[in-house]
Subunit: 559 residues, 2 copies
Amino acid sequence: MREKKQNREKGRLRVIPLGGLNEIGKNMTLLESGDDMMIIDCGLSFPDDEMFGIDIVIPDFSYLKENRNKIRGIIITHGHEDHIGSTPYLLKELSVPIYATRLPLALIKSKLEEHGLSGKLNAIEAGSKIRLGAFKVEAIRTTHSIVDSICLSIDTPAGRVFHTGDFKVDYTPVDGEPIDFARLAELGTKGVTFMMSDSTNAIRPGYTSSEKIVGQALENIFRRSQSRIIVATFSSNVHRVQKIIDNAVLFKRKVAFSGRSMVKVANLAVELGYLRIPSGTLVDINKIKNIPDRELVIITTGSQGEPMSALTRMAAADHRAVQIKKGDMIILSSTPIPGNEKTVSDVVNKLIQKGAEVIYSDIADTHVSGHACSEELKLMLSLIKPKYFMPVHGEYRHLKAHADIAENMGIKKENIFILENGNILDITEKNAYIKKEKIEADAVMVDGLGVGDVGNIVLRDRRLLSESGLIIVVASVNRSTRQVVAGPDIISRGFVYVRENEHLIDQATEVVTKTLNTCFDKNKKDWNEMKSAVRDDLRKFIYEKTKRNPVILPIFMEV
Amino acid sequence: MREKKQNREKGRLRVIPLGGLNEIGKNMTLLESGDDMMIIDCGLSFPDDEMFGIDIVIPDFSYLKENRNKIRGIIITHGHEDHIGSTPYLLKELSVPIYATRLPLALIKSKLEEHGLSGKLNAIEAGSKIRLGAFKVEAIRTTHSIVDSICLSIDTPAGRVFHTGDFKVDYTPVDGEPIDFARLAELGTKGVTFMMSDSTNAIRPGYTSSEKIVGQALENIFRRSQSRIIVATFSSNVHRVQKIIDNAVLFKRKVAFSGRSMVKVANLAVELGYLRIPSGTLVDINKIKNIPDRELVIITTGSQGEPMSALTRMAAADHRAVQIKKGDMIILSSTPIPGNEKTVSDVVNKLIQKGAEVIYSDIADTHVSGHACSEELKLMLSLIKPKYFMPVHGEYRHLKAHADIAENMGIKKENIFILENGNILDITEKNAYIKKEKIEADAVMVDGLGVGDVGNIVLRDRRLLSESGLIIVVASVNRSTRQVVAGPDIISRGFVYVRENEHLIDQATEVVTKTLNTCFDKNKKDWNEMKSAVRDDLRKFIYEKTKRNPVILPIFMEV
């Protein structure tokens, strides 16, 4: 009750990160004031190596479900998966209007359709102002590696809040629409109580290069190439795709798209007018055979070496329309996301082995980051001059580096807050502090249709099974006569190649028989006692013989 | 018979890489001439992500075992795991004398002792010449990230062969012993028929920095630090460890070692005179409590974020002697090996969260590579001027880049050979070619005590089990009365959390019962038919309900 009262207090704001802190991915932030809530972004993240079999990871929506009547809307800063990817999962739980600029909105719409959902989708544009309960939100143009990115100025009962979204300072963006610095400066002058800013590149010194650099690098490669060109990049990077198409047109080449998401996003971007493809330029990927190599560019997915992507299939000679051949010029216009280094180099090796020349970020400027480096972060801080500051979007080392930058820029140490997901930052114009209590904000794992049904026990079992496989011991037992009626049989999966290890299996069977007889002799008839005796003795035997610890499952049936 | 005759032909040499091509690791090369064979290096590699549960990977020794009587010796170029790690596994199969300089020899000795082995170990030194059957081998000083590294000049019946080992050109090595360029130039002048050269850094332009750079970076950090310093690095990098100790002495700090391999290698290196620690400098890691923070340096393993390493345990607050605290200055004197990026950044995040300042390769010159970049490779090629050239030690992209460098340096394209492990390069002074036949040289996986008993089927099962776990269906069946006597029961591991999914399990049980009854109705009594019907129906049901594909194991017992 007291809590509720306090919330209603005028001039008080609670900021609750639901994702995006101490991680790269699933960005989501909740603002709460009195009986009004609004959400910024609703992203997903990809599983780490320990999350066996998991498809994607989404934020925990429990707190939102408890407060479903208070949520006035979600506003999306841009169309990357780590900002929009969880929208279908949220909309399955809650009916909330979504506000986004046109490209992210189209991407969300298509995503919802795949899940058989529709939603209350509202288009906004840079310069738009919308009211979400107690919050007045202004969308402001920013630059990032996807078109139509915005940052947010939000008037709240506790004063003005500024959220950078993801950004870099690109003075020469491909679409000619730089960050609206005038508006940012104006906001800073008027006064900003609280700022959240992108920390992804906070440990990198200097500035991130303009997207223009990549356009020039591509032009140089196109100019000297006499062969077929294949460029792999992120489908969402519409500016990059535009530059590739521009170069294709310049050097009189046709363009074919390969990869489901590349085709999808390109179509959306053309429809919305973000991508301009001169008529006669595009050809169907299945009809490239008649086009001379030096008149063709293929734009494809797979720049991260994703297992089923188009480029990976080309590398494995498993792509229906494209066979890699000697002389092909392949450009990876990307940098491996941490964790993907090995899969990317596997793909590169296979392509080179097929005789292609491969240009990738290790050896050329074919990619620039979409995130601000430390000097750009300083610029943003010096424009906005917030009273309170919270670094967002990053691992702890990134958040800490960004906090240090803010402190160096003159923000008081006690006004800088490094939160964890689920922490509650309580803000008034006079003070701000992290509350002791937290809300549930653990990662929710999605496996197939299951959302959150794979927990730590299931993951632990998957890990154990993956390490040394499984041994099943089956026997039919008559407990009253103390007899093994059938079996014991030993069945294994992922343990050893049984045909070459028959002796070991025979010995293991003997161990089990002996243990069961000992149980009978000692008059142990309890199933669990028997199972645990068999498990212990067999584990010991197997470890001694092999130094391995397979999962051991005794299954006894009473007859 | 003809093959054998041909081998005996005077002036003929066969070079067979057994490992180290199209991979980073398990370097091993066989030279064969007539009835004499010699081996260069005997390394291991670490499993990739797809090799579930595998501890290490070693070369296939089948061909060596078939020719055990011909092998005159193994010569080791330096003491890294990817050059010595498989020696115990080879010596379990074959009795072959090993020749190495003193540090690698001591490391091999300790390794063999761990396996309960001894071996015919022979110390050589730079400048030594030994005869191995038809081969006269000369060890020549080179520089690499471990002391006591050599390259090899080998007089063979087909002319002189030169093998660089792993190397970089360090004009200012810590021990003051640079590459013996005079001897290399002399060999080049006299004429070298065939050269094998380290390709690890062939795609990197320019030069690798001297180890001296790291010494200077460390000195700068030591100079300004007022707190405890913890440096993580490779235990084998004795020069690096020496520089850390030198700086400790300079700034009046004591030194403690942490981590099993760090202690082991440091002891060996001190014993052999490679590491000089002034008396009174060393303290036991368990007795650091009484030493003021600003008078202490801890040198530790774990720079790759290895799960059980000392630094990882410190980060997890799980190290007996070292508790990380606010103000600690931690230096990762290393670069993550591809594939380790995530584990390293996890450790960094945890250390920073504990209040430590962490300096790592992303933000300072605290590491240099041990391998030659392209300009150094050119220098080596221009000194040795081989007739035939074969790039070694690298993935395909590295080998190809090195081959391109060699071609640019004037070696004829047809004299440059990119081989695969198991290929046979046949060389005379007049010509060289890759033979059509190959020998067995697949990766041999070691899991616990098992060498090579985990093959592709076992690995596939481990992968499947790791993805969606396992469902076991058990029933006791009386086939003559067509009755299920007990069960069917469903047992799962790593699939779903059963307590929260009882309904699904109940439904699955019904599916199985129905399928079994259908089998009985149709008079199907064959076990395999019944099992496969159950497996198919259950798989379909489970996939429909969950979009997952667990391994399904039906187990029926006749009663």
